[in-house]
Symmetry: C2
Subunit: 667 residues, 2 copies
Amino acid sequence: MAYPQETFTRTILSEGSLIARRRNAVASKTLFYQLKILKETGRYDAFRLRPHPSYDDPPVVWPIPNHILWESDVAKWIEGACYLLRDWKDPAVDSAVQELVDMIRGSILEDGGLNVHNTMVALGQRFTNLRDLHELYNAGHLIEAALAHNDFYQHNDLLDPILKYVELLCRTFGRDTERGQIPGYPGHPEIELALLRLYHRTRDPKHLKLAKFFITERGNPVGIYGRHYFRFEAHQRGENPHAILPSSGEPDALWYYQAHKPLVEQQTIEGHAVRAIYLLAAAADLVRLDPTSNAGLKDAVYRLWDNMVECKMYVTGGIGAVKQWKGFGPNYFLPQGTDEGGCHAETCAAIGVMMLAERILQYDLDRRFSDIMELSLYNAVLTSMSHDGTKFTDVNQLASSDQDPSKRDAWTASACCPANLLRLLGQIGGYVYTQTEEYPHQVNVHLYVPSAYEFTSGNKPATLYQTTTWPWEGKVVFGLSTISPLVTVSLALRIPGWATNWQLDPSPPSNDLQNGYLILSAEWLSDNRSFSLSIDISPRLVTPHPLTNQDTIAVVRGPVVYCVEDVDNPWVEDHFKTTLLDKESYFAEKLVDDETTGEYYVALSTKGARMLKTEGIRAYPSVPFDEAAKLDSSNIRELNFVPYFFKANRGGRGQARVGLRRWHDDL
Amino acid sequence: MAYPQETFTRTILSEGSLIARRRNAVASKTLFYQLKILKETGRYDAFRLRPHPSYDDPPVVWPIPNHILWESDVAKWIEGACYLLRDWKDPAVDSAVQELVDMIRGSILEDGGLNVHNTMVALGQRFTNLRDLHELYNAGHLIEAALAHNDFYQHNDLLDPILKYVELLCRTFGRDTERGQIPGYPGHPEIELALLRLYHRTRDPKHLKLAKFFITERGNPVGIYGRHYFRFEAHQRGENPHAILPSSGEPDALWYYQAHKPLVEQQTIEGHAVRAIYLLAAAADLVRLDPTSNAGLKDAVYRLWDNMVECKMYVTGGIGAVKQWKGFGPNYFLPQGTDEGGCHAETCAAIGVMMLAERILQYDLDRRFSDIMELSLYNAVLTSMSHDGTKFTDVNQLASSDQDPSKRDAWTASACCPANLLRLLGQIGGYVYTQTEEYPHQVNVHLYVPSAYEFTSGNKPATLYQTTTWPWEGKVVFGLSTISPLVTVSLALRIPGWATNWQLDPSPPSNDLQNGYLILSAEWLSDNRSFSLSIDISPRLVTPHPLTNQDTIAVVRGPVVYCVEDVDNPWVEDHFKTTLLDKESYFAEKLVDDETTGEYYVALSTKGARMLKTEGIRAYPSVPFDEAAKLDSSNIRELNFVPYFFKANRGGRGQARVGLRRWHDDL
């Protein structure tokens, strides 16, 4: 096994396909655009340790200084660049990476300290506000950058200073308070999963120990002198115990940080979605790396995964219903947009869902994880970037409103998402195929993406080819090329949970699935080096769980969730609030080669849409039943759908919606 | 014209009817119980100006000291007592009122200052935090107590010190900053409506001027030295500009106080519901008392009323969808309970709706105001008290949840609502009938309540009798008794907007309604001193506005909204989330003489309820359409309804719901 950050090099994406085009867009546009922004804003030079005027700016999100996330922005850019440089060698990117690395090397303090804010702005305040100041979050991203850098450049220019910094962290954090250790953990998890990756590389038990400490100590109600660490720390800082951060809306909001109780005791997934999902991704990795670490941890990961997917996830795979804390609301509270009372569905959180799914798949090959991984990729992650890699969203609502129209913006401010997308797409090939420690002689195919996967069969190089136009067509042709005549590995092909009709040609010995994967033995493969999987991806109608009280229909085709937007439905004036969809609707499919964007996709249309007649309906405050919800029967519309991830690419007025209200016969 | 606080004495409620029983309950139970609590908690003795240990308690709602509302609690109790003492003379209550008045008199400072907190706790901080510290709110309640006290005792023992305090306020507040005036206004409106009542009594233009100043200055973005007053004041206090109060969730949340812009510019009703509604009640009164005061104010009152009723009011008449700030959410965001994402529907806010409706009815006799007044009374106000006047709710959700079960609590803490209910029920007769300044020779009948109304016909005393069991039956028999043979007044009977069938017997000359009121001329009345109005109050089904996305049905009978609760439907386990109601349901009506409570009401039942089968439906995260929302057809239930206001009176497990999901034929 290894991480997608490492294994992606084995996957060669075929030119021209959707995922390859997006990766190409970030390599040719986003990477340079973000570098320009890093330079313009001062981030690029931050590690030179010179004063910057913006250090005095008032914090946008008090009390977190605006520049506090600069290091993670830089680190994610380095990480993404190191993934992309393999396929797009560029001297400007290469020298920027080297210059950044030199600056980072030069900025490290004698004791291993490595944090611009602590060195330049808040001298003497190191590790005094773990809850808010993102020092450990930044450290985590620096570790990940260093690993990627080491992989690509094959030297330790970045890894060395980072390891020195990690040494400081290993000395500093732990339960040994008598020897001056701090029994604290970061307000924003991230370093945990980075440390586990680092441990996987170094096998230094200190790295495992620190990650495990951060994960298991979190939420300890009596972590230090009988008090919760975050409360203790806040008291030490002299913080007003009534102080409220904008993101939580109440004082002492430990749940916002998933620190209200130890992870093993948490029954539902709560708080800030990115924090929660990064923590779970790390916990899942700890379960794999150190199975004896904590009996309850594995259960907790499953329990919180199930709670998330079944009760707190949008049909797009997005998570985070509550805008205020960019996180989870009560079970089944899933408003589609601002004027329904919420919806944040942050890009980084969706990326985190993919990370978590991938981590679990390493020890539990079950399509209930990979189905969600694919759903999130196409609908909660890809949605966040314009087709050409120049505009982004952090928030991915399912319905627009006048307050929050459907649009993307250039990357400017302290947004964490675009750089996260950069590094995800850089390593995306690593999510397509895995080979696990438990079954090293099996190649698991999670995603259908035109590509070649290089692996080893009987110590000889081998390649698995996928040829497909997925997600636009459901047929995937596989070809297996080995040097030795004998195939020594089996294949596991994910058959999506939504696939009611599928077939393999030639037929396998058995169509039985193991947790949703079709296992093709080495023996069968030896005789069948070319075969095709055909999955019926006809449009299907889905609905959120009935307890969401969202009596809506969403249209899905294969893994792709669709939406309507005003560009194709120019008559819309109300963000499709009163557009009703018949559950018996027939959908025409049309392959579109879009002129404006040069993109290629399948559009859907149906003639079955009715309009709810709300004009003249005034509530005082209720409406007599007979007067409510009349159909405007003169007004039957053709409705045109595009993939949700493709919305806001062709201009328009910012009106879009995924879940359409259901038309009932008896309205 | 006069205010209900004054005119209620003309209405004699008939013994034994619902409203009379509730008024009796507060007079015989609540009044004494609250007095006991006032004494036990220190509130009673606060005006003695002695230190109290609780003054040092940490604030529950930071930064507002817990005792800051004590004065309003005492004032509302005095006010309520003065209304109730007329009908229930009680020496203990009488002497408690007198002792409190003596203490208040004794606590006033030489300069007119009258505030326990400023005198005992925060010396020198008077009027330095108008936004939070409720000094002016308390002053308003003291004014209202003084007016009620003056009316009942016919002397000025309380009014004198209060007038002295008001003199101080008139000197202190205003635009004349050069002469040291403070151009501020209260964070919690209330004094405005009290000052207008005071002006109506005193005709002292200073009182009108101050009320008008508070109302029109509010929200001025450049009120002092080019800054918003609340921002200026916070800066002066050295408040961290990022400080967030628990109630708003963001810094600088002027909208929470309805101070984000001047009232005349506000397009939608926002923020804390009680504050908003008190402010509007005062504005409506200012429109009447000083029609030239501000051209836009009348429009603003109508605009915000319409926005509230049509887009932000529950079918019960409750307002305030967002729990965090006890106030308004986006238009049409009306979740029924906590696990749907909100619902506060505070009792005080509903009382405020009645106050606002009553104020507007003084200059605009239109049933769109009185319909809501009646709706709020029965469903959003009466709901807040147990049948016997011993238990209360501040929050009136439409659906229970495990987190927030349906129950009432004893009055203990700093809850404003129970004392507000006490004073409302004390004066409730004043809401039944009005005579306005514009049409003094017309008696308007807004509510059907068994009662007698004493008025003047041709300078001779006259009485209008209502005999009815409303709201249980729709027939109201009127009798007019005058000394002179000639009747000189007309009557206006409200025909509720929901009444599709009604008739007057004997027939009036015309059934034409004027803004929903049937006008019976003095001439017709001279010939018809007894007549009856019959309104069809058959159960009817209503639904919230379709844009609420609440595809629910609520059952209403006359003005009474019904609910289901577990006591009558013991099989329920899920707070009726999966109970579906057929829009064609037939409702059996049954007059119940309840043994447990001694209460008398009409219960409803229907056999048409179906159960949604959610068992086994798991979202990943969507549900294929065919698998969702299946009916459990073996499971057709009889559903038993009780009036919503009657819920939680007979024990049970705290499960209740108003709006039931609609059963569609094509589920």
